[in-house]
Amino acid sequence: MSEVFLEAKHISKSFVGVKALDDVDLTIGRGEIHCLIGENGSGKSTLIKIIGGVHKADSGTITVEGKQLSGSQAIESIRSGVQIIYQDLSLFPNLTVAENISVNQMLESNQQTVQWKEVRETARKALEEIGEAHISLDERVENLSMAKKQIIAISRALTQNAKLIIMDEATSAITKEEVDHLFSIIQNLKKKGIATLFVSHKLSEVFEISENITIIRDGKKVGVYPTSELDHDRLVYIMTGRKLEAEPYVYDTKMKQKSPLLEVKSFSKELQYQDISFSLQPGEILGITGLIGSGRTEIVQSIFGLNPADSGTMYMNGEEVKISNPRDAIRHGIALLPEDRLNQGLFDAQSIGDNIVITILKNFLKKIGLLDTTKQKRSANDWIERLKIKTPDGNLPVNSLSGGNQQRVVLAKWLAINPKVFILDGPTIGIDIGSKHTIHDIIRDLAREGMGIIMISDEIQEVLDNCNRILLMSKGRIIKEIDDARTTTSEELYEIVTGAASAGVEA
């Protein structure tokens, strides 16, 4: 390794008696691209915050360029060249690009008045430095895409003489092409001697960008490895401590019915999707993939009655059904696990139990119209057990759970209505690899029991590993249907999806 820029040694930290970090080391060289990975709750965020001076470590030292930090002041970390870009980016949507980039410097200089010439100059320089001078300084940030916003956040970090930029889950909301662009920016920064600490769940990206990987598990450092010495399986093994192997899902054709469980015929909706037809048999896991904006989320929202189609017909077990709102869908046994589970799937301050039984509250009504809370609790606890939701008490609020467990609560909530068709939109977004496998296992079990499942995912590999049939979408159309997932590879699917997106709809 080249010259050391930052060295964190023997870092330990507890929150109300729970050990979040236990004797963790992290070393980052000048201009190095380093990845920090670990499952949810492994202590990644805590470590970042300690390096950034947001939290104070209980013990251990942080040294930047040979100088030890006192470790309790954010401003000290910032002055020594450490910049954190949080997932939410901390930008001001109502202000211009120029002001957003320069705001830290404006505050840092302690001036009482604003020199607009300087503000623009600072911003222009920062954008130029990462080769993004084409972004208009006067545009309001709210009008920019997520990827551009990220560039603004990086530019802002550069105005602070950043020598290490920490990016927390930077790629979770941007498309593949934008990720590539972001990576080229990171490579550019490296050439200027600026190091990046990249925190991510997406292992393929970790392999693409990093030079070294530090892995932590349950608050302890498992090890640091040069990326070239690892491969996917080994990394997963080190990270989870388990061997997690993907076995393709095989559909048992005996389950096939004469008329399919669900059939969609020529669904169209202006500006969203055109002429979508497909069918689903009991026991099938049907994957739908395509880039963001391909229409995949919109089509399943239509099936669930959230976003009714302009035209087209839908059949269940051969009979035509009309679904114009989610109540209709639920009555017909259709459930939807939404993409954004926090906003659309959970009442996050309410208890775990109440969240699970909300879809079936009716079942607990006593004759006089009051709820039978004992019965309600019993049912909730049943589900907590069945889906192995890790909690000491079902009365705790949902937001006390980790991401993977929250997702299980949403699953339980929909399983409680006993659906025949279960649509999962991005079931494992933002969930670490260990929990991901548990959720995949649950989904497979459900299918084996005869449920029809539609699974939408960004990750082609995920679809490939878990679905027996796959639909590829681009620009609102189904461009290819793959009848047996075992006959194709992720590279092939990726070619088709990206090729169609750039070439047009003809493919």
Partner: protein
Amino acid sequence: MNIKQLMKHNETYILLIILIFSAALTMINPVFLTLENMFDLLRSSSGTAILAIGVFLVLLSGGIDVSCTAIAIAGQYISVNVLIATGIDSIALAFLISILIGVSLGAINAVFISIFKLPTLITTLGTSSLYHGLLLEVVGTKAVNAGDLPESIKAFGKIEILTLTRADGSSYGLSIFFLILVILLLLTWFILKFTMVGRGVYAIGGNAEAAKRTGYNSHKIQFFIYCYAGFLAGVMGVMHISMIRYGNPNYLVGTELSVIAAVVLGGARISGGTGTLTGTMLGVILITILEKNLILMGLSSYWQQFFIGVVIILGVSITYAQNKFQARRNLSIGGA
């Protein structure tokens, strides 16, 4: 700036409405479009405009202030009573007392909002009632007639910065109120555009969490906002009594909704972060023309209340519709 860019601005639309409205009024009654009437309009709307500046600032920061009128009447009524009781007949003292009261009451709002982190609407609703109730109980409810009113206050309301003579030899002019408004507008514009505190108002209105993380002192900014709004209310209080030459502690309170309506009409987003002073002033002009000319249009003055309600509901609906439209666009193909 070309037409296309102009049409993007909310201000352009309000200006158009004002022009169409004025043209219609002039057709009904040609007196409307005389310099004398314009001067009169400016004089009578200056007070609302000054309160509107304060409300605009609060709205910009993501809050809402319904206590501005209660603060204005407290400043007015107390300062006039002090002048009468002490026998010191000085307009400067009246302004000083009223402003001090305004800033103090604003600071109390800020304590609840900034330090105790209470919601702004509930806080100002509460303090508004509290300030007004205390005023009536402690200072009194007796109206101050023109005869009892200190001379300096009456004289101030008559000062003209520009006097013109009619054909018959009598004169009319542009009130000093307009000058005060212009000075306060320039001051506020300068603060918002060129000081870090002013930029902080935009910052906390846009993303309060990010403002804290970047190092804006949000306590300082919120104290500034509410004290400044209180200062403006204090100025307005004295102006108001010198204009109508009659003091009643039950005046003004209840008109805060039309001030808020003017600001919302001027394009300030109710969710904070966006809006302009120009828009706010245009909003005030439109509301004032509406209020003053309903009778001219043959409508009862009760319609005024009705229209204020319509404006507020419409203003909020438009913001909501814009957000929803944005969300739709992100959902459709090629969006995001």
